[in-house]
Amino acid sequence: MNHLKAVNRKAARVEGATEPDVVALQRTPLPQMPHFPIGCSLVFSPGWEADRTGGTAGLCQPVERDLFDCHIGCYWPAQVPDQLNHAPDWTSKCAAAQKDWRKIDLVFP
């Protein structure tokens, strides 16, 4: 910085911490280590992108389709249709989540 000079230790940390942190991932080499998005934000996940009506008003409401990604990719210990045990076919009609997410239905334990 040219106009401001860090004087105390906190200022030095502020200066170091405020490098822009938005980085295009396809850039090589990466100018800095980006903050990678993790988990279900990486993939198409019904319940995140569209609500039960196909709109965006009720995202992340507790409906069955929210759990699709937990069922596939994450371990979520409760209230998720369990692919290994009692709901192995929950997503059998859902070949591609982007197209078929409306076919994911309720599961009753």
Binding site: A6, V7, N8, R9, V14, T18
Partner: protein
């Protein structure tokens, strides 16, 4: 085009240069002419980039949106864009319609390691200082007819040491401060406690550091020798020269204590050379002469450091400091702080400890969620082994956080920390001095307003004034003798709670 506005900050000048103290980050930046001019223009009112550019061309921008704007020019050739970018990067300014990132509200993880335990080895005292928070009109605990024993037993003291070592977590050093009442009234237990703590500390691979506060009346050669041999840090409560000391610090029969303690303190200072010895002065209403008190205690008596604190009291007491009194105190603190500065520039020692403590916090950029370590890294222990927020609350049932036998009541501790976070102090939310003050002493608030959570509004102006003085001293040192500040970089010094 969106307008830029200044965010919370405090601008100050030192060594002829402009600086800014940012809130809540507590970062301090030196500004060049352009950044200073832009920040000042934005502190007046929000302005767009174009307006600022116009101002840098020499045009007086006096009106925007029909509203009144003070005429102002920026220095010709001001690099508006780069100054804006840098000020925005450190969050000194922001776009007025941009949502602000919420400040993360962090409650320290429990169990928080205990750094300092203040052990009230007795609640009795051989003096009757009129302003005393423990015995005077504002006392919290009945030390005369209450349920607490008047002296801590050896057994309780041992249990307290075990508690301390247990709760200190991974810390390699544990600090024990002996307190009272008059601490030395229970010297036998103090002596045995130090021996026990040394032994237990060694077994657990921890170093135990000891200090005490005393009124000095009971110092005698064998006690002084013991304190020196055991590297016990000593703080003497003393108010100054004879006429100041004897005004409030009197024996039960009303006679002043100066003549009794002065020779004893001189003996202590002569023989106890293993730790620097400090004086702690309580300032009260009436004529205060901080510099004279300082001179007397350092030059005539020989203390290494002197720290001053205004008396804690309900506002209607005769010894309570008035608003005008706080102004006077600030003027005198300022004089002494500049004396400290001149000494520091020449690498000479100066014993005004208030300024040194604040400089250290400024240097590290401490931004406090809680005013002090009470209930976190510091706890007070009453004579019966009850654990309280700090020594000032020791023995109070309503501020109890457990016992040395059963440990810290984590639920009570968490509830206290949750409710006393700076976020809950609405009055503080727009004050630029909150990173250092965080609402001030819980005990002062309790005495003044009847609740620990209340910000100490009676001394806000004083805190802001004093913080401004310390920032100026800090800025001067950063320009004139930055090496002096590097003493605060020592990582072995415990970081204050931030």
């Amino acid at each position: 085009m969106t307008a830029w506005g200044a965010r919370e900050h405090h601008r100050f000048e030192a060594a002829g240069k402009p600086f800014v103290y940012l809130v809540p980050s507590a970062a301090i930046f030196e500004l060049d002419e352009a950044a200073d001019a832009v920040l000042r223009a934005l502190a007046e009112c929000p302005r767009t980039r174009d307006e600022l550019t116009e101002m840098a061309r020499g045009t007086e921008v006096t009106e925007r949106d029909g509203g009144h704007r003070e005429g102002r020019r920026l220095p010709a050739g001001t690099e508006v864009d780069s100054a804006l970018a840098e000020l925005a990067r450190v969050q000194a300014i922001g776009q007025v319609d941009a949502p602000r990132a919420p400040t993360p509200r962090v409650i320290p993880l429990a169990p928080f390691p205990l750094t300092t335990m203040v052990l009230n080895v007795t609640n009795q005292c051989n003096l009757s200082c009129e302003y005393c928070y423990e015995y005077g009109e504002d006392k919290i605990v009945d030390t005369e007819n209450g349920r607490q024993p008047k002296f801590m037993s050896e057994q309780t003291a041992r249990e307290s040491v075990d508690f301390m070592l247990r709760e200190s977590g991974d810390n390699k050093v544990a600090h024990v401060t002996f307190f009272g009442g008059e601490t030395l009234l229970n010297f036998p237990v103090l002596k045995k406690t130090i021996a026990y703590a040394r032994q237990r500390g060694a077994e657990l691979g921890k170093q135990v550091d000891f200090s005490l506060t005393t009124n000095g009346t009971l110092l005698k050669p064998e006690i002084i020798e013991f304190l020196a041999e055991n590297h016990v840090g000593v703080t003497i409560s003393i108010d100054g020269p004879k006429e100041v000391q004897d005004k409030f610090r009197v024996f039960h029969n009303g006679t002043g204590s100066y003549d009794v303690i002065a020779p004893k303190i001189k003996e202590l200072l002569k023989h106890h050379r293993s730790r620097p010895i400090g004086a702690r002065v309580t300032l009260t209403s009436g004529k205060m002469d901080v510099r004279r008190i300082y001179r007397h205690l350092t030059e005539e008596i020989g203390f290494w450091e002197v720290g001053f604190a205004p008396v804690t009291t309900a506002p209607n007491r005769a010894h309570a400091i008035s608003d005008a009194g706080y102004d006077e105190m600030l003027a005198q603190f300022r004089d002494l702080a500049y004396e400290f500065l001149e000494a520091a520039v020449e690498n000479r020692h100066h014993g005004f400890s208030n300024v040194k403590e604040t400089l250290e916090e400024l240097h590290k950029g401490v931004s406090k969620a809680f005013p002090c370590g009470a209930g976190l890294g510091l706890l007070g222990v009453a004579t019966d082994g009850d654990v309280a927020l700090c020594h000032r609350f020791a023995g109070s049932d309503s501020h109890k956080l457990g016992t040395v036998r059963d440990g810290i009541d984590r639920g009570a501790q968490r509830a206290f920390l949750e409710s006393h976070h700076i976020d809950h102090k609405t009055d503080c939310s727009r004050c630029w001095a909150r990173p250092l003050c965080s609402g001030g002493c819980y005990h002062e608030a309790y005495t003044r307003y009847g609740e620990t959570i209340h910000p100490n509004l009676h001394y806000c102006d004083w805190i802001r004034g004093w913080t401004d003085v310390c920032l100026k001293v800090y800025g001067e040192l950063a320009v004139r003798n930055p090496a002096f500040l590097s003493q605060f970089d020592d990582e072995s010094m415990k970081e204050p709670v931030s």
